[in-house]
């Protein structure tokens, strides 16, 4: 790589590369041969350390063997307008966000709605590592080793009714903790949504960590969505509410500028953002651009969800 970029990060947040690589090799051995999308469940429940390492987790590399983006880039270059609109603002303002205690309200068309602690939310789930490409609508991309569990597993626990056609997510609204919310750059709180089949897709993840560590606050701690075939803004951060609903929910960027940010926001090199081309992207850490892949390289798994839709119009 041409460029090195030292960035200030608390030493406690960094996994020594050697440790990480050793763990990865170990995981690769363990995961070898597991071709199915979902690995067999490990016994025991997830325990979420407030800060720190998750230990050994099953891992699936789903980014075509592409190199991981360095941790310091992932934590220093963020779009998280609640913590500021500049790319380095979220890292700087992260401290003011209190991620513990944290509650998540599950509501709408479910048999068991309620207000749960994060521990209740996570308790029955088995965490795993998923290495995904992340493609931002601004034409840059990363490869991130997330730690999380399938959103489908969580939704099933709360028993969606037959009227649950969409899932709506909401980020924390608290200008005290989120200085970016003191100005109405966007309509707060940030909201995102998925169609129920997208939400139930096995690639759709609820993440609580990356690089084997608790999610840094600037990356959407303590609980965020990861939908790897959609532009990054769909992957809502610091979630406090998940509602199953009957009709398509209002989503923040779509509401702000619907001609630029569609509800679906599937990564599509053939449909430009009105202000820039989406045909190519710059992988963080590289100087020149590379071609953007349809559905961010996950077409084989997800293209079927959109059969019969005109993706130029429903972008």
């Amino acid at each position: 790589m041409l460029i090195k970029r030292p960035e200030p990060i608390a030493p406690s947040e960094i996994t020594p590369e050697s440790v990480y690589q050793a763990r990865r090799r170990f995981l690769a051995l363990g995961a070898a041969g597991a071709g199915a999308l979902l690995l067999p469940r490990l016994a025991g429940a997830a325990t979420l350390p407030p800060v720190g390492a998750f230990g050994t987790l099953p891992s699936q590399a789903l980014a075509g063997g592409e190199a991981l983006t360095p941790l310091d880039s992932i934590t220093s270059y963020c779009n998280f307008y609640e913590l500021g609109t500049g790319k380095s603002d979220p890292a700087r303002n992260a401290e003011s966000l209190r991620t513990s205690p944290w509650r998540v309200r599950i509501g709408g068309e479910v048999a068991r709605p309620g207000d749960y602690t994060l521990e209740d939310i996570l308790q029955p789930h088995t965490l795993e590592e998923r290495i995904y490409r992340l493609r931002c609508v601004e034409a840059w991309s990363m490869v991130v080793p997330w730690v999380g569990f399938p959103l489908a597993d969580l939704l099933k626990r709360f028993e969606p009714t037959s009227r649950a056609k969409y899932v709506a997510f909401t980020t924390l609204y608290d200008p005290e903790q989120m200085p970016g919310q003191r100005r109405s750059v966007l309509e707060w709180p940030y909201r995102e949504g998925l169609r129920i089949d997208e939400a139930m897709h096995p690639l759709t993840l609820l993440a609580v960590g990356l690089y084997g560590q608790t999610l840094p606050k600037q990356n959407g701690a303590p609980l965020r969505l990861v939908v790897p075939w959609k532009y990054g803004f769909k992957s809502i951060k610091s979630i406090v509410a998940i509602d199953l609903v009957e009709s398509q929910p209002t989503t923040t960027w779509n509401q702000m500028q619907s001609s630029e940010y569609g509800f679906y926001a599937n990564v599509n090199p053939a449909v430009d953002h009105p202000r820039w081309s989406q045909a190519r992207e710059r992988r963080i850490g590289e100087f020149f651009k590379r071609d953007t892949l349809a559905f961010n390289g996950y077409a084989e798994q997800v293209a079927g969800l959109y059969r019969g839709m005109d993706l130029r119009r429903q972008f």
Partner: protein, 187 residues
């Protein structure tokens, strides 16, 4: 070259010098191309506004020194606009002139950016004493084009931000002040 101009030549080159050092030492952030694109645009606009501040400072502040830097600042605006355009042509479009041209036609903020650059070009070329002499009264008329150019550059900035309009609005407010200060002084 007078000492004042030499000093400010050195100062004006600091951002460009920092980019070279920052690139080599990896201190331009996770996305150095974006950092360079943005900072070169910022400096082009800042120098443009500085060059426009000289006359009001003389008229209203009775401060004459900046007038001696006006041409240099205008040329720095052009220099940084040129760096900005070169970065975009090489690193965004990878020397695909057709792609750049399509952007100029399709994307209003690029149209405005290119227009600002195109308008600055003859001003930069005719900034020398020789051209000033040759053009006579026409020189002043030609160089009044800097006002619409600055407005176009600010519109370029306004159109390109995603949601946070604060920065371009600050530049717009400064530019408005500098233009208003040119209205005839009543006595």
């Amino acid at each position: 070259m007078p000492r004042l101009n030499l000093l400010f030549l050195g100062i004006g080159l600091l951002p460009a010098g920092w980019w070279v050092i920052g690139l080599l030492s990896g201190q331009l952030g996770a996305n150095p191309v974006e950092t360079l694109t943005r900072q070169s645009g910022d400096w082009a606009l800042r120098f443009l506004l500085l060059s426009l501040a000289c006359t009001p400072l003389r008229v209203w502040g009775h401060w004459h020194t900046p007038m001696r830097l006006r041409r240099q600042w205008g040329l720095f605006a052009y220099f940084y606009a040129w760096v900005h355009l070169t970065i975009i042509l090489v690193l965004e479009h990878e020397l695909d002139m057709l792609a750049l041209w399509r952007d100029v036609l399709d994307r209003p903020y690029i149209t405005f950016g290119m227009l600002a650059f195109a308008l600055l070009t003859p001003l930069a070329i005719t900034s020398t004493k020789g051209w000033q002499r040759r053009l006579g009264r026409g020189w002043r008329r030609l160089h009044r084009w800097v006002y619409p150019t600055a407005i176009i550059a600010v519109v370029h900035f306004l159109l390109l931000v995603k949601a946070d309009l604060r920065e371009p609005l600050i530049y717009g407010a400064l530019l408005s002040l500098l233009l208003l200060a040119r209205l005839p002084k009543r006595t």
